[in-house]
């Protein structure tokens, strides 16, 4: 699969299925509530949080406005440091580049750091089609890979699985038959399985959280140490980086290193941060490739409102506070980018027609905007994208008629009187049936406010 999308159902159709899974809702409710509290605690202890957010947003705005300059600057700096920089216009081009490098070394297996960007382009499937096995080394990604499942959360990809399910899966696949469901035992089973593969792998593949234009440095933040293994042990390292991941200067990292861990895992600092600038002889990989990926991002950049979605640093704070995500889980969004950020990113990367129900998958409650570390006004972008979706004829006619009625107080008043005498079965028909399935509907008042006013002050 070479796109962010998964499956063809609309959001309400997919949500219909997911909402029936009571266990999923309990798991998600518990998990998101826990992480919300952790985030709130570490954010509240900073008195300059709002200034940090403002700084993050300002840096990202500058990156988007001058992306052409920064990309070329990055290419020059990374090349000088010994890396080879490639440009990929789309998923197929990126996959071909990566597969070509792997084939050039005669390799049939690679180890991978958790990377949404490589999920977006469907890299693992593309490599498999060419006889290369890509092993996911992040624990949650490994679980999903072993089960043929896919991510439902940006940070916690297997948030929809509980530990009994994971124990059973590991017993069936890589673990001992008597494996317990203790987290330490589960992690140990994965560690044993992965360690040997880390040691024999000759090619590692990563994404990047940040790419520094000034120095050509790539940055990966992670929790498990698997990323450090993948980026240091193999002889060849290939990093697939979305062009929006650039930061102009090294010092800008100081802002994002405060914003990201707190927003993401609710930690002051994440356990492992790897930074590398080209190659150091005798230390780490002897060959380094950076694939700069567009895959629709230039199109997003063209939209002055929608481009804010490219500011995202993939922290997942918006998922954890979203009341819609909490009820449906990530799979309902049908995209590798779920939740509020996915609802504005996927329709832009894929084309609005391919994900037209996603901008509507929100009550516009604004909780996402409030926590976003780079102040992406997600509700505003959602409303903007709603304006671009194709509309059904009946709905369009009804909305135009309403606008026509509202444009003139006389017409509006007559329509109001008409609504009052409509029988309840008519008022409750059509789209209102979706309302009355679970809620009662108030009757139109026998006297409108304006009639009362008129009567009171003739």
């Amino acid at each position: 699969m070479s796109s962010a999308s998964r499956g063809g159902a609309t959001f309400p159709q997919a949500a219909h299925v997911e909402l029936r899974n009571a266990q999923l809702r309990r798991n998600l409710g518990h998990a998101t509530r826990t992480i919300r509290a952790k985030r709130a605690a570490v954010v509240d202890e900073l008195d300059n949080w709002q200034q940090l957010r403002e700084a993050g947003a300002a840096i990202k705005r500058d990156v988007m406005a001058n992306l052409d300059t920064y990309l070329v600057e990055f290419e020059r700096a990374a090349t000088e440091a010994g890396a080879t920089v490639h440009w990929a216009a789309d998923a197929d081009a990126a996959n071909d580049l990566v597969a070509g490098i792997v084939a050039g070394h005669g390799e049939h297996e690679v180890v991978k750091v958790k990377s949404l960007t490589t999920d977006e382009i469907g890299l693992n499937d593309a490599l498999a089609a060419r006889g290369v096995e890509a092993l996911e080394t992040d624990f949650a990604e490994l679980i999903l890979q072993l089960d043929g499942d896919w991510s439902s959360h940006i940070l916690v990809p297997a948030i929809h699985r509980n530990r009994t399910e994971i124990r059973d899966l590991l017993r069936r696949t890589i673990g001992p038959a008597d494996l317990s469901d203790e987290p330490a035992a589960l992690a140990e089973a994965a560690r044993v399985h992965l360690r040997e593969r880390f040691l024999r792998a000759r090619v590692g593949i990563s994404g990047a959280n940040f790419a520094i234009a000034e120095t050509g440095t790539l940055v990966v933040l992670e929790s498990e140490g698997n990323g450090r293994m993948c980026t240091t042990l193999p002889q060849v390292l290939i990093s697939v980086v979305g062009i929006e991941k650039l930061l102009p200067r090294f010092e800008h990292l100081a802002v994002f290193m405060q914003l990201l861990p707190r927003s993401s895992t609710g930690e002051r600092m994440n356990p492992y941060t790897s930074l590398w600038t080209g190659m150091t002889p005798g230390d780490g990989p002897a060959e380094m490739h950076v694939v700069l990926l567009d895959n629709g991002r230039s199109d997003v950049l063209r939209d002055p409102v929608g481009r804010e979605a490219l500011h995202c640093i993939r922290c997942s704070a918006c998922l954890n506070v979203c009341p819609v995500y909490e009820r449906t889980g990530g799979h309902a969004y049908g995209s590798i980018y779920p939740g509020p950020i996915g609802a504005i990113l996927t329709p832009q990367l894929e084309g609005i027609g391919a994900a037209a129900s996603l901008p509507y998958a929100s009550s516009l409650c604004g909780a996402c905007y409030e926590v976003c570390p780079v102040k992406i006004d997600i509700p505003r972008v959602l409303v903007h994208l709603r304006g671009l979706t194709p509309k059904r004829g009946a709905e369009r006619r009804a909305m135009r008629t309403l606008a026509w009625l509202f444009a003139d107080a006389g017409r509006y008043r007559r329509a109001q009187r008409l609504a009052r005498v409509l029988p309840a079965r008519v008022a409750g028909a059509g789209p209102m049936r979706a309302w009355t399935a679970g809620r009662d509907l108030p009757a139109v008042a026998p006297q409108s406010f304006r009639e009362w006013w008129h009567e009171r002050r003739p």
Partner: protein
């Protein structure tokens, strides 16, 4: 102060008692109230449903209707938010913000002996940032016993056309809100927007719950 009221089409048609209460309250506080009958809808529903041109045109119409108004007060936080976003400079205030922020009053001479829970609507909380103004107004009401709803800042699931386009998700959100309201021990739930109260009230009524809904203006007008 001469106050022009923006009732909203929703309240005008479905909840006129809220508009009447707001007028009575403002007059009781010694202000002159006017209602401009040319007002209809601010365009929020069109805007949020993806009909941008219609939404902007109706917002622009608001500016013409309220031309020259010294101050405009409305009992809807979401409509106030829409108008302020798209017609900045129009002196529109949500009622509780007008009372606590502009007039600087908390004690409005109301009496309402009941156990009341306040639901902070998303637009009042996060778009208008009304803060604890409604809570302070309610705390000053004689006989009123203010109770807390668990995770009060969670959305009720209304969201305009979201409630019908994604009715099942909306209901799942509402169910949790209704349970939290019932746990609070409240007899009455109040808010600064009747749209959210219609969602909550419609769900409570369907559950056969004894808890009822009432707009803040009606509690503050009660004596």
């Amino acid at each position: 102060m001469r106050i022009s009221v923006f009732i909203t089409c929703f309240n005008d048609t479905l909840f006129p008692q809220t508009g009447r209460a707001m007028v009575e309250l403002l007059e009781r506080l010694g202000h002159e109230v006017e209602f401009r009958p040319e007002q209809t809808c601010c365009g929020q529903m069109h805007m949020n449903s993806g009909y941008r041109d219609e939404g902007l045109e109706l917002a622009a119409r608001m500016r013409r209707v309220f031309d020259g108004a010294e101050v405009i007060v409305t009992p809807s936080a979401s409509c106030a938010g829409h108008v302020l976003e798209h017609e900045p400079g129009l002196p529109v205030h949500e009622l509780s913000q007008f009372l606590t922020g502009v007039l600087g009053v908390e004690e409005v001479g109301a009496r309402y002996p009941a156990r009341v829970a306040y639901h902070p609507t998303c637009h009042s909380l996060r778009a208008l940032r009304v803060g604890d103004g409604p809570g302070r107004l309610l705390a000053a009401v004689e006989g009123l016993d203010l109770v807390e709803i668990d995770e009060a800042d969670q959305c009720c699931g209304f969201g305009g056309t979201f409630a019908v386009k994604n009715a099942e998700v909306s209901m799942a959100m509402l169910d949790d809100k209704l349970s939290a309201i019932e746990r609070s021990g409240a007899e009455v739930v109040t808010a600064v927007d009747n749209s959210c109260l219609m969602q909550i009230g419609g769900g409570l009524s369907r559950r056969g719950s004894p808890v009822s809904t009432l707009h803040l203006a009606e509690i503050l007008a009660a004596t």
